[in-house]
Amino acid sequence: MSETVTTPARRKNYLNAEYGIKSWLLTKDHKRIAILYLVSVTFFFMLGGIMAAFLRLELATPLGDMVEPDTYNRLFTAHGVLMVFLFLIPAIPAVLGNFLIPLMIGAKDLAFPKLNLGSWYVYNVGATLMVAALLRGGTDTGWTFYTPYSSVFADSEVILTALGVFVAGFSSIMTGLNFVVTIHRMRAPGLTWFRLPLFVWSMYGTSLVQILGTPVVAIAIVLVAAERLLNIGIFDPALGGDPVLFQHLFWFYSHPAVYIMILPAMGVISELIAAFSRKRIFGYKFVAFSSLAIAVLGFLVWGHHMFISSQSLYAGLIFSVLSMLVAVPSAVKTFNWTATLYQGSISWQTPMIYALGFIGLFVVGGLTGVMLATLGLDMHVHDTYFIVAHFHYIMVGGAIMAYLGGMHYWWPKITGRLYSVFWSKISAGLIFVGFNLTFFPQFVLGYLGMPRRYHAYPEEFQILNVLSSAGATILGLGYLLPLIYFIWSMRYGERATDNPWGAYGLEWETSSPPPTYNFDEPPVVTTEAYDYLAMRDKRVA
């Protein structure tokens, strides 16, 4: 592990190896494809964020006085669809995973570089369909597309949006497939399974879910389209169908999809905690296997979305107890992260602030998730703002905090530049405060009984809604800052050394930014993961 400063002289790297738009659009380099994904997901994150801004603005007053109800419904649908399918699902895997997996395992690239590039195009075809649906007026079914509303009653662009989700799903399958093969076949000599960085373990679990789960949502979408277009009775009871069947198919994918969002985030957090404690993650194997346990158990809990949808009592009992079980590996991870800090060498750098913030928010999100898995409680808070708050704590407080933490950690590697420490810490603080102010009041609102997807609400809910909207403003500002200083750093940022954090990991052994084929010499691994002791000894020697 070299900490010597790379000569500022223009070393050949993946960014300056070739120039021109064609060199980007036809690239097979996993690092450049990661950048392509970065541009795409950032765009859709902003678009989804703008929708959220409208929602919070409308909800500042109890009357639905800003936009028409139908417009509001289209806005929250667009917010959900864009954020889930075009941002949260691809964000960490397709950006950070794409960039880092080959680097972390000492490979030149992913196993199927063309498939990788293809996945980005497929993603964009899906995205284009969804944007086309938006431009034609949008969809008003909610991102969950519940039947028979979506298949018979909704008078909006359901088919186009659903087709977009269908297509984008294939990009997710392609990415997952690529990662599984790469992790199995292309690890550097000496890099055994139990020497892998925990990020790779979590990406492995994620990939399995992507491959196995996504086809089911694709089937559900095809069936909705068949019913809408061909009048085949599948979900519409008037045609002999079963409306709840859709919910089963949808959540069979969409619950595991939550783990597609949070497992990579957990992987990032393991990396950050290890790097900024300069210490091996406590209970490495438990953290690694908990990722697989979550991936597997995640497939067995979908029915907890349907406790009160006329599902049988016994099904409810079984799904409730299984949902309790999935909380255990998450708790194991949290305790291990906390224990890692003990006797660490803890540095309060920006990525670590994100990681510590993640733990706090994830604990709140996780514990409220357990409340929702409790049958007697879910009956009251199901489909209220309690749910909205809970899943934002997991997806925004969890997945996005980790994504941003990861971006701040690997940015010097990705771009070869450093960003403003001052502004990045301000932004992390704003995001943490803004997030809690936005979503914590929503737990209270939910328990009070405010249902989700409400365009107008009774007056007594106003104060909490105003707090939430105020928080959203701070949160939005917090998200805007990194966009500015990251872009600024690409041109004006100080040049980064190969290993600016003094962190363990193969990705830090190559130059910043790395050359096209990642390593000048194929690396050989002789030490355990996060072996800071060996790393120091090597440097001294």
Binding site: P148, G283, M324, V328, T338, L341, L356, L377, V444, L448
Partner: protein, 325 residues
């Protein structure tokens, strides 16, 4: 706007305090673990902050006993919560035997209520205090969800089948009814009020309103109007099964399986008679799909339920009202 700033909903049903007990206990446990983790994270992050740029953490062997401890303790708590939550849920799921049946039909974007005595209301729903009430609910279009926060009960209302929910109000007053399942443009305006009255006041309220025939009487009339009685006779089972005394009993179907005659089966047999034929009958009955409203199906079911095998039992199945005073 500061005048009413509640943090918890009112408790207006026998179930509410049970759900709240579960909630507050869980909130306590969650707060404990949340503060424990947050406290440790902050303490460690300060206590073990990096003191020199070259410093590294002190690696330690992960103790297996620690992993086991922090897996097993949460597991035990989680299973405990599961059991408690399940107990409350089962209670909320199963109405007591003396519950009076009311009917709810949801449609975009209103709630229609039928009292067993024949009164009908839209969006407002008057019910007596202290009487267990069971709602049999269906939707005319998409999925809705009947939610009364003050009662802590919620159940989805589906097209094409019946779902039930029950409650016993223990506080007079007016409380929100919300639709909790997204149902289209005016979803957020699909609200109503449930008005809990002293039983005597409820009787007065019922008496003071023009009431149509009771659910059973309407059903009986429909049974003639729709010509059901042509085949479903009380004295001959030649063309169609005798419906007297059929409700709640098992019947053998053409394929040999056994079906209990319940609300959903009757509804299906009216809408799609050939789906589950009783053994020994030909598919002679036409479908009533599109020719009969959900309200009418409910009335027919009410009537069929009232048809006891013995006429003297008829009274027993009529909804009993709570005693006055």
């Amino acid at each position: 706007m500061w005048k009413n700033f509640p943090l918890f909903p009112e408790q207006a049903s026998t179930l509410a305090s049970k759900v709240d007990a579960l909630y507050f206990t869980f909130l306590g446990i969650s707060t404990f673990f949340g503060l424990l983790v947050a406290g440790l994270v902050i303490y460690f992050a300060i206590r073990f902050r990096r003191r020199s740029p070259e410093e590294i953490g002190r690696p330690e062997k992960a103790g297996l006993w620690m992993e086991v401890t922090w897996s097993v303790i949460p597991l035990i708590i989680l299973l405990g919560m599961f059991a408690w939550g399940a107990k409350v849920f089962v209670e909320a799921f199963r109405p007591p035997g003396n519950a009076v049946e009311y009917f709810v039909t949801a449609k975009q974007w209103m709630w229609k209520f039928q009292h067993p005595q024949g009164n009908r209301e839209i969006n407002d729903f008057h019910v007596p205090l202290g009487q267990p009430i069971r709602l049999t609910m269906t939707s005319e279009d998409v999925i809705h969800s009947f939610f009364v926060p003050a009662f802590r009960v919620k159940a989805d209302v589906l097209p094409g089948r019946y779902t039930t929910v029950w409650f016993e109000a223990n506080k007079t007053g007016t409380f929100h009814i919300f639709c909790a399942e997204y149902c289209g443009a005016e979803h957020s305006m699909m609200r109503g009020s449930i008005i809990i009255m002293e039983p005597a006041d409820y009787e007065l309220w019922l008496a003071g309103r023009e009431s149509g025939p009771s659910v059973v009487a309407s059903g009986e009339e429909l049974f003639q109007v729709k010509a059901c009685n042509t085949c479903h006779r009380s004295d001959s089972a030649t063309l169609a099964p005798i419906l007297h005394g059929a409700f709640g009993e098992p019947v053998e179907l053409a394929d040999g399986s056994v079906q209990v005659v319940d609300e959903n089966y009757i509804r299906e047999s009216i809408m799609n008679p050939a789906a589950k034929l009783v053994k020994g009958y030909k598919p002679l009955m036409p479908t009533y799909q599109g020719q009969i409203t959900e309200d009418e199906v409910i009335q027919l079911i009410g009537y069929i339920k009232s048809l006891a095998s013995d006429a003297t039992e008829e009274e027993a199945t009529l909804p009993a009202l709570p005693d006055e005073g």
